[in-house]
Symmetry: C2
Subunit: 327 residues, 2 copies
């Protein structure tokens, strides 16, 4: 039930693995959250999942459909916010899906209360309004996961571009003629700075060590992890003074600082937040990263208090839900 | 004199070589323009030059100081628009110069009528309001000259960033570990895509041809031009089927398309305008550039009418004056 005139906002983060949802509280936190596995077998299966999490929130929080002020959905891919449609999605069967119409009729909420946005934009909005970007005018969230995602707020406004195509920051070339990227270009930042790239770099180093008969503690870490290389492998071994791992981490941070310095020279945000799996390294990642970025960004001669603050994202996995609820 | 209630706006483009000024007409054109050489010997000499061009406009157009609605000054460097101060300028003795106070008292115009902006931003504003960006919401002007300058309008708003530091697009690395840039980084786009870079690339190719005994018509073009290599040398010879020149042009366009595709993936403007000396090549530059950019930009599967239009800047050298008058 709706009490004391507060606004009832539900946020949904639609991912390739899970659909997470929550009810926003007054402080920008989540009063309740839930999730289901994403059934990626068809468009209608995905849409059913969206309705399921909304019913879960309504039931758990005792909300009638009529009392809901907004439902926001954060979707991967190219999203047409005005029309409420996913125009293109690489990972989900949602090309052309009319999320707004489908979800509003499934849960009996007016269509104009259902809003959708790109997932990276929604996460950036969440961090900007309720996380580490609070109080800034210029903010960006860079997510290091399977790819490199980014959402930018410039002068208090989400960067959108014509046809909502802006913000593909992972697909900016930093190594001319470099590694082939799935987007068709060579040398995209995503091929050097994503968590997946770090895993590939770690794997290549372990193989090189094996080939050259050099010891590395990364081998045991991988064996202990069921044979799986993770984005943490090199960081853990490097903290334990493993030379090969140190080389992997140094090279990774060098690429990452190159990409982030580009972004800072372009956008000059007050805060640049790093999210995604790699950001779990915290200061082990941030301290050397700041040193490099602050040593080469264009306006480094400005007073230190004007420097872009480089921080870990504060909302973690909730940023998408919180941001979606705030669309 | 002021007639029919029209607004009297004067724009000044303060450059390292000339100070140009003009009176804006109702259509966004210039009713009158003039220029003086920039006396770079001191801050007061530069400021005197600014007052001189304003007096010239006032005299030629029969304007009293009291009738002037605004004077805008486009300045190179880091400009604090709120305070009317140049915070940093690499090429002019203006670090800390209070342009607003000095100019307003010199020409007897209220201080709040004097506005200043970065020169690249002002030129972009001019093209956006009165040139090739007219009618767009997302626009960028990339100027290929001594360096690579850029001004971006995102969702109708000038990209500014904290401390007006945004928009240093020439100082984004596209060749990791590449050519040393004056900014301290290696591999900045400016080192590959500016007119200066094209001249260096042309010089290197002519020298390589001499060393290897290969004929190139670029040698005669340079000799005919008083021994000076220009940004046009390779383009002219390439149009005349010179193989070595063709290689220079192809490599240059490859770097340029890499940089511009980065910008389009980031900003997705409706129009990206190219200004500066190199843009004088017109379709000789634009046609192959579009082919490459449209072949690799991230949203190339969108309908063609949604593509970023790549055009030459329309206002040429007047963009700075027109934009300054519109600040």
């Amino acid at each position: 039930m709706k009490r004391d005139g507060s606004i009832v906002r539900i946020g949904i983060d639609l991912g390739g693995s899970n659909i997470a949802a929550g009810l926003l509280d007054i402080d920008g936190g989540l009063a309740y959250k839930c999730k289901v596995k994403t059934d990626t077998s068809s468009e209608s299966a995905v849409l059913r999942g969206l309705a399921d999490v909304v019913f879960d929130v309504m039931h758990a929080c005792g909300l009638d459909a009529g009392i809901i002020d907004s439902i926001g959905v954060a979707c991967p891919g190219a999203v047409n916010s005005e029309r409420g449609i996913v125009e293109y999605s690489a990972n989900l069967p949602l090309c052309g899906a009319d999320i707004r119409t489908a979800l509003s009729s499934a849960v009996c909420v007016d269509a104009d209360k259902v809003r959708i946005a790109n997932d990276a934009d929604a996460a950036a909005l969440g961090e900007y309004r309720a996380g580490v970007g609070k109080g800034t005018e210029n903010f960006m969230l860079v997510t290091l996961g399977t790819g490199v995602g980014a959402g930018c707020i410039c002068g208090g406004k989400m960067l959108s571009g014509r046809g909502h195509s802006a913000g593909e920051l992972g697909h900016t070339v930093i190594v001319y003629g470099g590694e082939q990227c799935a987007c068709g270009r060579r040398g995209c930042a995503e091929q050097y700075c994503s968590a997946s790239a770090l895993k590939r770099q770690t794997k290549a180093k372990i193989e090189a060590c094996e080939r050259d008969g050099i010891f590395t503690s990364m081998k045991k870490l991988v064996a202990d992890n069921g044979g799986r290389i993770s984005a943490r492998t090199a960081f853990i071994a490097a903290a334990d003074s493993d030379t090969a791992a140190r080389e992997v981490v140094d090279a990774y941070i060098s690429y990452l600082s190159c990409m982030l310095t580009n972004f800072i020279n372009i956008f000059a945000p007050e805060v640049l937040a790093i999210g995604g799996g790699v950001s779990g390294e915290g200061e082990r990642l941030l301290a050397p990263l700041r040193e490099r970025v602050y040593g080469e960004m264009y306006d480094r001669k400005r007073p230190r208090e004007l420097y872009t603050r480089i921080e870990c994202a504060a909302l973690g996995n909730d940023a998408g839900i919180v941001g979606a609820a705030m669309i």
